[in-house]
Subunit: 219 residues, 4 copies
């Protein structure tokens, strides 16, 4: 009886529910705050629709890229936590650490919206994306190597696929940071292209996966 | 035993709970951010209540129309997902795609608050509403044609009613975009009138519905 | 079997869960956005702590009053929905209607922060509080007279107490709107005093309530 | 039967679910709003990465300190409410009182971002942190001394550890407020250092705790 009560107390204090509620809330706010970066164009001096769209374009792309980056981060978080049955203190703090660079994304979007071709802006944005990937890598490694926190172990193949989906974009972002100085356009193209590549890659992973594996359910 | 564990893992990774949490969060933030568009009027120079209300009027209407548009989008989302038992990867991404134009609504509201009669502003706002309707149509068609994702199939009659409630407003918004150039007032009136018409239409659908059909529970 | 499935579908489409999620989200955002109204004081010219606090005072009080108004609205919503087992379409829309004036509160707070003694600002803020009370009255009357939506009927005594807790503040706010023109300070004092009175009143209701009645659990 | 229905009604009206939903929402919004304090640097005049980072530095540290303060407040809230089975009216209101100074943190962050070395800014920020600690202390004392609200009593040792983790930082913040006038740098260092010390302290508490005690699960 006492052992049962102790077990219940253990489950209660290790329940991931509020960690998920906080994470979903933070992501919902980030992707909605991003819109504040899109500047309302000046329309009074007889501007055409094309002219207005042209004026919005840089901030709209900064919005769009950042929106997809955050959406991917959320989908990855959801995929990981679908396997997490219990949290422990390090996992809760790693999760908060993961939310930290994510919550700075609106600042980064604002930066590349205003300074689309400035190497410094592009490097700061890239460093932010590297930080998002690095903290995601950390929480992924921590959780997938703690069977007592999981419903069941993640198989080695799915784990490798999950790691590649984090590490490859991270490497591309590192390259974007490095080349920003000499080729800002290339850097910008990497930020625009990686989310699209990611979505294609995850689609291929899913279709190549053996049925019933964790990979088959990657979002 | 193993089959049972595999089934549970399947249900866990296809659980719509977090998709709903994210969507509710995003909608809550959008309808609350809209208020930031209402400009605080200048009251120092002995302005009357009527004068102040007159000054607030354009931004207040832009707020109100956008509030109702987002509320309808949420009610439709809730109606659809009341039938969704499991998500799969395309449904999760279609849901994110649906949240994308919705999260741009505060920008659109800001635009028509400032440029109430500018064709360009009205056309951009209309394009946004068409995008909301189009992504809603896509997710509706995807979900209602995937019985393995639903609690039970949606009957053909309810499905047709659901489609009409998306397609008719969308057609009206397309008209509003087209006529904005020559008749901005007509365009604005369509944006103001469609939400009201929608609420009347859904009320009629509900009362004409056979008991026990999905239509009878449309919000 | 079929009747059972129909019953389950009915419960699913009438589940209040997402209505509560949206409402909690909207309230959380409103009370957090309010802080944006507090202006950062200018501190460079050797200002003292007293001077800075004096500069913040009007916007801080506007923040505080609005914070408590929204908190009371939320606590009342929670008390009401503790009895609601099922929603129907009018209840969902009445709930959205209730969220509408609430979501305009940050605008009202901004108004009385900037124009503390302007009759027009005080009247607009008062009208907003009347609208919050009126929509709360409507949803309260709708829900408590629909036994099929409730876990069990609300007893007449608790219902009367609940009504008084809505109608009395509403009447005081109407008075505040009327007197704002000739006595703005009185109007302001009503806005500051009603939330405090409300908390005292609800405490007395709770302690005078027969055990087991709904009143005994008013928040 | 009737007693059973009364018991269910009691559990429903004392359910902490919505209190947690509101709290998680408020915290999610606060930590996401904080980013709005980070000013986008001017990059046009050929600024280097170092120059831009230097310009961001004060607002970034204000962001970071505030982010960790709010994260700690949330983790403490989660730890406390893991033991709370039922809320009553005072607990709901104490929780709202706890959210009040927390929701002012973005204002405080904005203040120390702009006036990093101004004693008045540092004192206001410190008073805010003292208020967060004081309301946390109050809710902690209230909940842990009400066994009928808890799953099971919190043992004396864990309670003492929990109290120390609130009271010691609070005392340090009081010192920071006092010394801000003569030694603003010391005051700032206390704000920067306490969160770090807290994380070390809680890690030590956890490792020194007897297995199965509440302390062992402190986050």
């Amino acid at each position: 009886m006492d052992a049962e009560r102790q077990r219940q107390a253990y489950e209660r204090t290790h329940d991931p529910a509020r960690v998920l509620a906080l994470s979903d809330g933070v992501v919902a706010i980030i992707i909605t705050l991003l819109v504040l970066e899109i500047q309302v164009p000046e329309l009074t001096e007889g501007k055409t629709l094309q002219g207005a769209i042209e004026e919005i374009r840089p901030s709209f792309f900064a919005f769009l890229i950042s929106f997809v980056v955050v959406a991917i981060a959320w989908a990855g978080h959801r995929d990981l936590f679908a396997h997490v049955r219990r949290t422990d203190s390090p996992l809760v703090w790693l999760n908060i650490l993961y939310l930290l660079p994510l919550s700075i994304i609106p600042f980064g979007a604002s930066l590349i919206a205003r300074y689309e071709t400035e190497p410094v802006a592009l490097r700061l944005y890239g460093l932010l994306l590297v930080a998002v990937a690095a903290t995601r890598l950390w929480i992924f490694l921590y959780a997938t190597t703690r069977p007592h926190l999981l419903y069941e172990s993640v198989d080695a193949r799915s784990r490798r696929a999950g790691l590649l989906l984090i590490v490859v974009p991270m490497a591309l972002y590192v390259i974007a940071v490095i080349v920003a100085e000499v080729a800002p356009r290339v850097s910008w193209s990497i930020y625009a292209g990686v989310p699209a590549l990611y979505l294609v890659a995850i689609w291929r992973v899913r279709h190549a996966a053996p049925p019933g594996s964790a990979e088959a359910d990657f979002t």
